[in-house]
């Protein structure tokens, strides 16, 4: 090692000055290096960065200079220096990561599970009082009124939903001049979740969260919004639920004619004044709890998968329903039926539906999906198409299928299963270039899928064919968007003939 021994005061001063200036410059360079790490990291591996980044072209030079400076030092100094820099980075990064961590009063898995149990129990209690209540039909009713509310908002037809809306909401909507200048279209409902079911002295109430998106057009300009709305539906205590034909579409609760009312809420067919909540559910409160503008950039954005390791949320009444289902279908062995269901329905639907998604041929599985689910996913497929993107799910394989809930009511029966699967989930553009996700690293995930069919349908799951109409057995190649088989004219998407997939919920979002 070279050593400088200070021989006299003149050489000492010169050397001190040199060392001082050199130290300050080096310190400055190192501070820049530590404060602005992107100078060194802008082009990792030599320039694969997406940005043009011409302003950063000096980065390698500074990095190289620092590297060269460290190399010039003797090892007993450069090694501790490197160690100190590494330790510094470790603490700095740890500190900065910690800075962004926050604890918020959001529900944990345990809170969600308790709330799920509470809601399920209240629905069961409610069904004791109203045996005609069907969760699936209620979803249809919510879908129908939601569509009409926004389609008619600000238009003359808004009067047709007067008996289904609280008078203060109706008046506010009617008196808002902005509604008259706005047109809402392409309404898509993604999901409907039950939040609570309750009864007071006068009314029964059901609170639901509606995840939707729609296009708002004003002065010729359109904006697409993604929303979560919380709606309270109320009905006079003691009123019973209506049959499917009056729940799927808005009809006069008195005579059953298509909804055609005047401003006072009088049915134009039977001339009865319909008071909201007297005979049918009505919207008692609307609250928009989340709203953002839809951005197509999000189509290729991947978040870290969460919720796959959460325990399966199993309905508290599942054993009762298994017994009930076994008895009503005169099954000898429930386990055998369950095996048949998972092998021939859940498994096959999952593979077929995601294959159609991957190939962007949603129409091919029209006969397997409910209207709402078909519409909802069509929107996303169209969005990918518009951006010339494709979401591929390669090597899709199912790892496990768990039973989460069984429900049956007067009109429908539904199975909710949790499907654990893995695949290479990625997004490519028109040229086949990878835009998001990974072709090499498999993504493990789980989802809750709800299948439904009309009560009383006896269809052997083992004889089910994915490619035929479940009513007439003809090839499922002529099924239009309305899910009507052109061979037999039957509408298939109501579950009147076989199982229909009606809902897909991500594991971290599932609340029953």
């Amino acid at each position: 090692m070279r050593q400088y021994i200070f021989q006299n005061t003149i050489s000492k001063r010169k050397i001190f000055r040199f060392v001082g200036i050199f130290s300050i410059i080096s310190l400055g360079i190192l501070i820049i290096f530590l404060f602005v790490p992107e100078i060194l990291m802008a082009r990792p591996g030599g320039g694969q960065s997406y940005s043009g980044g011409s302003g950063n072209s000096g980065g390698d030079g500074i990095g190289g200079l620092i590297f060269w400076l460290i190399l010039q030092l003797p090892p007993q100094i450069s090694i501790p220096l490197i160690i100190v820099i590494i330790v510094f980075y470790y603490f700095k990064n740890k500190k900065e990561k910690g800075h962004d961590v926050s604890v918020a009063s959001t529900p944990t898995y345990s809170n969600k599970f308790n709330e799920f149990n509470s809601v399920e129990q209240s629905i069961e209690r409610f069904k004791q009082k109203d045996p005609d209540f069907s969760r699936l039909l209620f979803w249809d009713f919510v879908t129908s009124i939601y569509h009409k509310y926004y389609t008619y908002l600000g238009k003359a037809d808004f009067k047709n939903i007067k008996p289904f809306i609280a008078s203060y909401i109706w008046e506010q909507a009617q008196n808002n001049p902005l509604n008259k200048q706005t047109d809402i279209s392409e309404i898509v409902i993604g999901n409907i979740n039950f939040i609570s079911v309750f009864e007071d002295d006068k009314y029964t109430g059901i609170v639901v969260d509606i995840k939707s998106n729609y296009t708002k057009t004003k002065a010729g300009k359109s904006t697409r919004f993604v929303l979560t709305e919380r709606w309270l539906f109320s009905r006079k205590r003691g009123v019973l639920s209506k049959p499917p034909e009056e729940m799927r579409d808005l009809k006069c609760p008195n005579c059953g004619a298509p909804a055609d009312f005047n401003d006072a809420g009088e049915c134009q067919y039977c001339n009865t004044f319909i008071v909201a909540g007297e005979m049918q559910w009505f919207v008692n409160q609307i609250s928009i709890i989340k709203q953002e503008v839809f951005k197509t950039q999000g189509l290729a954005h991947y978040e870290q998968e969460i919720g796959t390791d959460y325990p399966t949320i199993v309905s508290p009444a599942i054993n009762t329903y298994i017994q009930q289902f076994t008895q009503s279908h005169q099954l000898k062995d429930w386990n055998l039926y369950w095996q048949n269901f998972t092998d021939n329905i859940a498994y096959k639907y999952f593979i077929e539906i995601y294959h159609a998604w991957s190939e962007m041929q949603w129409q091919k599985v029209r006969h397997l999906l409910s209207d709402r689910l078909y519409e909802s996913y069509s929107f996303w497929i169209e969005s990918y198409k518009r951006e010339h993107l494709q979401n591929r799910l390669d090597n899709l394989s199912i790892k496990r299928i768990d039973m989460a809930a069984i429900e049956s009511d007067k009109y429908y029966e539904a199975f909710t299963v949790r499907i654990f699967a893995s695949c290479y989930d990625y997004v490519i553009n028109r040229e086949g270039k990878l835009i998001g996700g990974s072709k090499k690293k498999a993504r493990y995930f789980s989802e809750y899928w709800t299948f439904m069919r009309r009560s009383g349908v006896e269809f052997k799951e083992s004889e089910f064919s994915l490619h035929n109409c479940p009513n007439c057995g003809a090839p499922a190649d002529k099924i239009g968007q309305a899910a009507v088989c052109e061979y037999c004219g039957a509408k298939i998407s109501n579950g009147d003939f076989s199982w229909i997939l009606t809902r897909i919920v991500q594991d971290e979002e599932y609340t029953g």
Partner: protein, 207 residues
């Protein structure tokens, strides 16, 4: 942040639910490790120590190897910077109270806006923002809530929540305080018929 674990979060949600079940108000609690980065404090600390050390090298009667002067000046800077960055103690000591308060208030107000706490129909949202480094609980009520509860109660609430930092277990103390103040919310902002929670469960609170 370790003390604010899953168990705490479950209890926190339950404590808030208890308040909301008995009141129209909607409570949001956010806990952050700090409300500012205070990067200047470690830099200044490192620079001062490096400067002092360099002065010592310059004017000491002892003769040093130039490598030592060079390396120790830089090393001292990084060591002090790392230590001060990693420990909150010195930052707490050197950051002015007014600066801390300002940072906490800016953060709280930003979260209030971004989290959409202002979107309740009756404007009855209340944010409890806990900033640990600054040791400040900032309570930010929306207009409706502020009008409903007398100012004296707000003052008492603010000073009472501020005492959580004196407790050994801040997390438990925070839960206790929420529980203690539940009757006040119930008294001044009582529940109404058909009250539905208007704030989403997954609030966007990261700025």
């Amino acid at each position: 942040m370790k003390r604010f674990d899953e168990d705490f979060r479950t209890k926190l949600y339950d404590a808030i639910k208890k308040i909301e079940d008995n009141s129209l108000t909607e409570i949001v609690v956010i806990i952050k490790p700090s409300s500012g980065k205070y990067r200047d404090i470690p830099v200044w600390s490192g620079a001062i120590i490096a400067g002092l050390l360099y002065t010592f090298f310059m004017f000491s009667h002892i003769e040093f190897d130039v490598y030592l002067i060079y390396a120790f000046t830089i090393l001292s800077f990084f060591v002090v910077w790392s230590l001060v960055s990693a420990t909150n103690f010195i930052q707490k000591l050197f950051v002015k109270k007014s600066r801390k308060q300002k940072n906490v208030e800016i953060r709280a107000r930003a979260i209030f806006q971004k989290g959409g706490i202002r979107f309740t129909q009756e404007r009855i949202g209340v944010l409890f923002y806990v900033s640990l480094l600054e040791k400040i609980v900032f309570i930010l009520p929306d207009r409706g809530a502020e009008h409903s509860i007398p100012d004296e109660e707000w003052k008492n609430m603010r000073s009472d929540f501020q005492t959580i930092f004196k407790a050994d277990d801040i997390a438990a103390e925070l839960l206790q305080k929420l529980d203690n103040w539940q009757p006040v919310f119930a008294k001044y902002i009582p529940p109404v018929e058909n009250d539905i929670n208007e704030l989403p469960d997954d609030l966007e609170v990261n700025l």
